[in-house]
């Protein structure tokens, strides 16, 4: 009995906090826009009894999903989101890997401190940190002032409100998610493996590519998914740091919801986004599982 309760807890949790909201969104995505409260129809009228329920289901249709295929905006936005997510994942990996490597190679007594420094930004609101970047990157911002002062540039660089700023923001924000799993993989790495590789004729660099990188692969994969999955749906960073040319599905979703007041289409966009994310999430799960098995 206690066992059953223990098992039930996470399922009830999932049901209440994931499945039920998802079905509500799914239901709205099958509804039609209406100028009413709430702004869609039909709504379930239980006072009508069975007929009401039948009437309710009779009015649901896939019209909104068809709509998504008719306008190229949506798939372009999905594609552009995936592209931005991929590029920023690669950038985050390029920045994060050396940091994780450095941490794992640092003297044992420094590591907790380094770890804390990586986690430290989480203590401040994400929004405030993104706003701080606006202050750094703007035309009259600290970066330009510094570069002008050093004489490297003579006119301020336009970074804020460009794609570059979006990538800077994403890399900065998601860096800890990349560093931590890679660090965990590298820290477990037996130092004698590197020595063995060198002993067998590898230069330092070869040993890194042939041994360190393959062995930290589970960490790299975990980190990449942890960055890529949320970035695909990212809304705040592109809207604050990006220019208007930054097309991302999060922004399209926002517009459907707020500008068009079209909750049904917005929900359909969200459902499709979820389906797109299911692929990497399943791959990620499989990677985690493989890692657990290998660890046993």
């Amino acid at each position: 009995m206690r066992r059953a309760i223990l098992i039930a807890v996470p399922y009830v949790w999932l049901l209440a906090l994931f499945l039920v909201p998802f079905f509500i969104v799914l239901k709205i995505s099958l509804s039609d826009i209406a100028l009413a409260i709430p702004p869609y129809t039909p709504t379930l009228d239980l006072s009508q009894g069975w007929a009401g329920v039948r009437d309710f289901f009779g009015q649901l249709d896939f019209e909104n999903f068809v709509w998504l295929t008719e306008d190229d905006l949506y798939w372009k936005a999905y594609l552009s989101s995936v592209k931005i997510a991929l590029i920023s994942t690669v950038l985050t990996l390029m920045v994060g890997y050396p940091i994780a490597y450095g941490m794992a190679r640092a003297p044992e007594e420094w590591r907790p401190t380094l770890m804390m420094l990586v986690i430290l930004p989480f203590w401040t609101s994400f929004l405030i940190r993104v706003y701080a970047w606006m202050g750094i990157l703007s035309n009259e911002g600290y970066l330009n002032q510094f570069l002008l002062w050093t004489g490297l540039i003579s006119t301020p660089l336009t970074i804020l409100n460009t794609q570059t700023a979006v990538y800077i923001g994403i890399v900065y924000t998601y860096l800890p998610f990349m560093i931590l799993p890679i660090y965990a993989a590298l820290e477990r790495l037996d130092g004698s493996l590197i020595e063995a590789a060198e002993d067998l004729g590898c230069s330092r660099l070869q040993a890194f590519w042939l041994v360190t990188v393959p062995l930290s692969r589970p960490g790299i994969i975990a980190g990449c998914f942890l960055v890529m999955i949320p970035v695909i749906g990212e809304f705040v960073i592109p809207s604050l740091l990006g220019g208007s040319g930054t097309l991302m599905i999060g922004k399209v979703l926002w517009e459907e919801f707020f500008s068009n007041r079209d909750w049904p289409v917005a929900s359909a966009v969200a459902v499709v986004l979820l389906l797109i994310l299911v692929v990497p999430i399943v791959l990620f799960q499989r990677n985690q599982q493989k890692q657990t098995e290998a660890g046993q």
């Binding site: 409260i37 905006l73 552009s80 804020l160 068009n260």
Partner: protein, 361 residues
């Protein structure tokens, strides 16, 4: 509520309304009132005032359409108000409880009636125009001293925009503001709901689009004040705020607000009571308090926006009532126009067009 009807539901109902009876919840734009007025209201009425703020009509509208927001007074802009009235989000005002309603300014009343027929659901709080925020020094430096700072040419002529691009130009991220503006520029009806007519704006905007750094509806306040950008198409009050911030910071940035010489869009922020307001009684008390000439004048003197309260004008300070950027002169007033909300189908086309213009997709 009488003791006779003391059923279970009534117990719950009384319980709830008792909790709300001495509390008024107001949801207004950020930086939009003199906070001393809030405590003054509490002192005068003995009610507790819960005052929350928002910064976009869309956020407010979503709360209204979702229902059960728990607010007693909200402040949507005219076009949004109209649609929300149609959705059934508001309750009619009880004229008997608004003894100060006589203070309202007929000039404004006539126009807001376009959104709220007979002004049955709302009273005007503030109003303003959409126009140009200009960093005077930088724009003159780039385009010469004799540049016209109040013309749409500044932001809709590619040759001007090309030169201003490096310095930075922001547009409001609001198709309902920009399309009417461009239609006015083209000599069309700014309030046109004909999608073909609206489509004519695309060519004009596409030509200047590469030189627009960002479409955003609030960032330009800081960006202008800090000197990060040169020109913004924005709301009068916001740009005046930027002007004051720059002056306070004493950073050598001089900002001016100009309504368009070609004619500016006029907007109205209206106070209304949600249909499911927990305390409509208190809400009316708050509206009546705001309608008081002295209180309204205090608010305008604080936020530098024009209001729809004729009686308050004698209490306004000279730098408010005398500033043509806030209270435009008669000639400019003539030129101002209003728009009405798009029907849902048109709205979709407009949003789509807007996305296409912004992102090139």
């Amino acid at each position: 509520m009488t003791i006779k009807t003391l059923t279970l539901t009534a117990v719950i109902a009384t319980g709830v309304s008792a909790a709300y009876a001495d509390e008024v919840r107001v949801y207004n734009w950020s930086d939009y009132i003199d906070e001393e007025l809030l405590s003054k209201f509490e002192e005068e009425t003995g009610l507790t005032l819960v005052y929350d703020v928002f910064d976009s009509n869309e956020v407010l509208e979503t709360k209204m359409l979702a229902g059960g927001s728990g607010y007693d007074v909200v402040v949507p802009t005219g076009t949004f108000l109209q649609r929300q009235i149609q959705a059934g989000a508001f309750q009619k005002l009880d004229a008997e409880k608004l003894s100060n309603a006589g203070n309202l300014w007929d000039v404004i009343q006539d126009r807001t009636a376009g959104y709220d027929p007979d002004n049955a659901y709302s009273i005007n709080y503030m109003w303003g125009t959409t126009g140009l925020g200009v960093n005077v020094g930088k724009v003159r430096e780039i385009l010469g001293d004799d540049v016209q700072l109040n013309s749409m040419d500044l932001v809709l002529k590619p040759e001007n925009m090309e030169k201003l691009a490096a310095c930075g130009v922001h547009f409001l991220d609001a198709p309902t503001e920009i399309f009417p503006m461009v239609l006015q520029y083209l000599g069309e009806d700014p309030d046109s709901h004909d999608t073909d007519v609206i489509g004519k704006t695309e060519e004009v905007l596409a030509a200047v689009r590469p030189h627009i750094q960002k479409f955003h509806s609030s960032e330009y306040i800081n960006a202008l004040a800090n000197g990060d950008i040169c020109v913004a198409v924005g709301w009068s009050g916001d740009i005046l705020q930027a002007r004051d911030r720059a002056a306070e910071a004493d950073n050598g940035v001089e900002i001016e607000y100009h309504p368009f010489a070609e004619g500016s869009l006029m907007w109205f922020d209206q106070m209304a009571i949600p249909v499911d307001a927990p305390n409509p009684e208190g809400a009316h008390k708050f509206l009546n308090f705001i309608l008081d000439a002295n209180n309204m004048a205090a608010a305008s003197n604080y936020v530098y926006y024009a209001n729809g309260n004729k009686a308050s004008q004698e209490f306004l300070e000279e730098d408010v009532i005398g500033d043509p950027a806030i209270y435009p002169d008669d000639a400019t007033m003539e030129n101002l126009y209003i728009t009405t909300p798009y029907p849902a189908k048109t709205q979709r086309v407009v949003t789509r067009l807007w996305t296409k213009i912004k992102s090139g997709t």
